[in-house]
């Protein structure tokens, strides 16, 4: 099988570090504005209190007490699962085709978890007390509070992923050291402290075990565990309660994770001309996974609808009816269904595949999951079992400050990638070293690449996704 693609070189993966385009500065400006707006909004919230949000007390108060912040928190944790999927594929299942995007996905995990952690801080009324109040009472609260379980597992997940990333970076940094900028010398020295070639084999095994640990921890305990349990364990909120939330949350998380990886991969490929590194094959494969998880996502929704409408208890009937009569629910489900339909179609007719469309699919899924998560949180609180208050169901629409937080956290995640890409290689050296062995369908795929033939690096695709996400 022949291919006219250049063989990937070290120069290729060093390109983000060595060259900085105008588009980079433009994006930096946009991102800074987004983060700036967010910080101003948060500042106002710290000054005036949570009253700047549109949240209120449920019950006689006529509102909901959790809203966009918690929805976005779950969304970011979901996106953070990108690293897991790719690490699982590459490290444990030996699916080397995804190696070029594995590190990007792992970085997405770090960034996503950071954004999620930030949302916990933004969400509470007294962020200044988080450390003292939670840590000092940890030995007691860990037994009963799902929120403490969340903080615990997320922290563990973060530490494990960071360790994983740190270990694999040592290999690359050591080998590419001469070509890396001197101004970061202290950092490189710190990261490669005590490195010898003998450790490669050991590290290889360590990361395998770490990957295994993370793969068990993140889907089964985090997004199929403590995150849904925040809701699924509350019997007085029928829209939340029940055993299905574990699998449901996990499938939603995995779709958004793949959506995130698709967008990040596309952005880097476009920006640095990495067509031969992050090949179409990667996108096709990711799309298939996306389709699979989208199908599960919708199927689990069907389960909930059926049990909610057939002969459910009164409170659950109210909750399900309300869900089914709200446009946001159908918009979210429609977006997932559309994505699924496209993926199915392009599997049957490969000519329907294009990079732009795959990225669009990723964007649609991210929009759908964000809407679904916020809707899930809000609807649950609107239809409690104890619904005889006149002010139940309450009303809620996110305030400007709340909505800006989404833009701000996307800005922070984008900035994270822009900064990291200037410091360390975001594609593993292993990926190009072994790229030659990788057998991808050359001709078959190039045929359909007419779509992304633009020469100018336009590395702003992550922000392009913003308007969709905020819609």
């Amino acid at each position: 099988m022949s291919t006219d693609t250049d063989t990937p070189s070290e120069a290729d993966i060093l390109r983000p570090i060595r060259s900085t385009s105008k588009a980079y500065y433009a994006l930096l400006a946009v991102v800074s504005v987004a983060i700036g707006l967010f910080l101003v909004g948060w500042g106002l919230q710290l000054r005036d209190g949570m009253i700047v949000t549109n949240l209120a007390d449920w019950g006689s108060g006529g509102g909901v007490t959790w809203g966009l912040y918690i929805g976005a928190f779950i969304w970011w944790v979901g996106i953070a699962h990108g690293g897991i999927i790719l690490s699982a594929a590459v490290r444990l299942l030996g699916m080397d085709r995804y190696k070029p995007v594995a590190r990007l996905a792992e970085l997405l995990t770090i960034a996503g978890l950071t954004a999620a952690g930030l949302y916990i801080i933004i969400h509470v009324g007294r962020p200044d007390r988080i450390v003292t109040s939670i840590l000092l009472n940890y030995n007691e609260t860990i037994h009963t509070s799902p929120l403490v379980w969340d903080v615990t597992v997320i922290t563990l997940y973060f530490v494990m992923t960071a360790t994983y990333l740190g270990l694999t970076l040592r290999y690359d940094i050591t080998r590419l050291r001469d070509q890396l900028p001197d101004r970061f010398e202290p950092l490189y020295r710190l990261m490669t402290i005590g490195y010898t070639e003998k450790e490669d084999e050991v590290v290889e095994r360590m990361v395998w075990w770490l990957a295994l640990g993370i793969i068990i921890l993140a889907p089964l305990l985090l997004h199929g565990g403590v995150i849904p349990w925040l809701f699924a364990l509350i019997p007085s909120m029928p829209g939340w309660f029940g055993a299905i939330q574990g699998p449901q949350f996990l499938t939603i998380a995995l779709t958004s994770a793949i959506g995130g990886v698709l967008i990040i991969s596309y952005a880097f490929r476009k920006a640095y001309g990495w067509d031969h590194i992050i090949t179409d094959d990667v996108f096709r494969g990711l799309l298939l996974w996306l389709g699979f998880f989208s199908l599960l996502f919708l199927w689990l929704q069907l389960q909930q609808i059926m049990s909610g409408v057939f002969a459910a208890p009164i409170d659950q009937t109210y909750a399900t009816d309300a869900k089914l009569s709200h446009p946001v629910y159908w918009i979210a489900m429609g977006l997932v269904a559309t994505t699924l339909a496209y993926i199915f179609a392009q599997t049957l007719r490969p000519s329907l595949f294009s990079l732009r469309r795959s990225v669009l699919a990723g964007g649609l899924i991210l929009t759908a999951t964000l809407l679904e998560k916020i809707f899930f949180v809000v609807e649950g609180l609107m239809y409690p079992t104890f619904g005889l208050y006149d002010a139940v169901p309450g009303s809620y629409f996110p305030s400007v400050i709340e909505m800006i937080s989404i833009v701000g956290t996307i800005g922070i995640v984008t900035l994270f990638f822009m900064v990291v890409a200037k410091v360390v290689p975001v594609v593993e050296l292993h990926a190009i070293e072994e790229h030659g062995d990788h057998d991808h369908e050359g001709d078959g795929e190039r045929e359909y690449e007419f779509d992304d033939a633009t020469e100018e690096p336009t590395d702003d695709h992550t922000t392009e996704a913003n308007p969709e996400v905020n819609a």
């Binding site: 949000t53 007390d57 006689s60 939670i134 609260t141 006149d390």
Partner: protein, 428 residues
Amino acid sequence: MSTDESTSNVDADAEPEPEPSVVDDLHTDEWESEMQALLEDGDYDAELGLEMAKDAQRLVAGELDEADFYERYHEAVIDEFGVDDRPIAEAIEDADGDRDRFMKSLEELENGELDRREAMKKMGAAGLFLGLGTWATKENAEGGPDAASVAGDGEQGEGKQYGMVIDLEKCDGCLACVVACSQENNTSAGANWMYVFTYEDGHQEEENYLVRTCQHCSDAPCEKVCPTTARHKRTEDGLVLTDYDVCIGCRYCQVACPYGVNYFQWGEPDTPESELDYDHVYDGRDRRVDSRPPKGVMGKCTMCPSRQDGKMGEDKVGTTACEDACSMDAIHFGDMNDDESDPNQYLEQVREENPNDREDYPNRAGDTVSTFRLLEELGTDPNVVFVGNEPGPNAKQVEGPVKYEEIGEVDRRKEVLDDGTFAGGVSP
């Protein structure tokens, strides 16, 4: 507390060598280990208890004089439990009532078909409980093994548990309690810790009211989910409170509470800090749990802990602001575990006033009074008992005789909060 000392006392005082008796061969190893296990469940000296149990059996068998029994254990028990500073005679006198009943039941058992040994085995244990029960009086509320708790009697909880009996049939929806609560606690507009509302339920003609305080649940979901222990249940009286100095304002308690009794302090409180009374804000433990919450933390009905701790004057102990304000005598606050408390007495009185016709229909309940606890099926074990109709699952609030606006209060808090929402609130 020296266990060794107390048991050696017992040994020294014990009669040197009790005559071989029917009791001795009851003291099998099996019996001992059984008793030991039973006693070790409690916090008290198992050996002492075992000695007492043996002697209680001797007492029953008539081998030991009751005065001797008390004399023998008086000191040891004081050492162990730190109670019983009464003269021995008085203690015996007090115990007499119990003892009489105890002897009587033994006699009954003897006349019956029960094997004497079996009976003595059982009664030996019972005698122990009798002994402990007599000494460890209920006043020693810090977990003293009163008769009920040692015997594992789950009928009534241990210690004090504040709660209310609210007679919905007496309520006329005047909202005086709502006003009293908000004035006492300086809560912000719409934070209706006490919320009274009228509801319609299907075809019921009459007006139904619900007086919704915090239910101060024995198994409070809000306390369970709190990531900080700010939301806690006071050990001394079972009030569910929020420590305003610990709360981080995550609002999970509000999410987990099935009743919707929590009101977050979204913005600056209507009443500034400087206008609060220090004695009202801090309870007897000097924790900041009473009065309105500061910005960014959770508040809810407290059932007035600073009153209960005597910080608002002795005359206010055992009362709440809403109870004081209720001219219909619908609200009765007190210890739900005490039969003599105001709420329990009231309940008994209402039951007595509404007897059922049991002469013609002997299978009927003793009275016609309907009582319920809100959403009991959720397992929260709430401590507010309502007299009146229980709202059904389709019940819905309707306009009441007195509107919140008419008495200077706010019903739907969101309307006030929307003024503070950045760029205006949107309520679709």
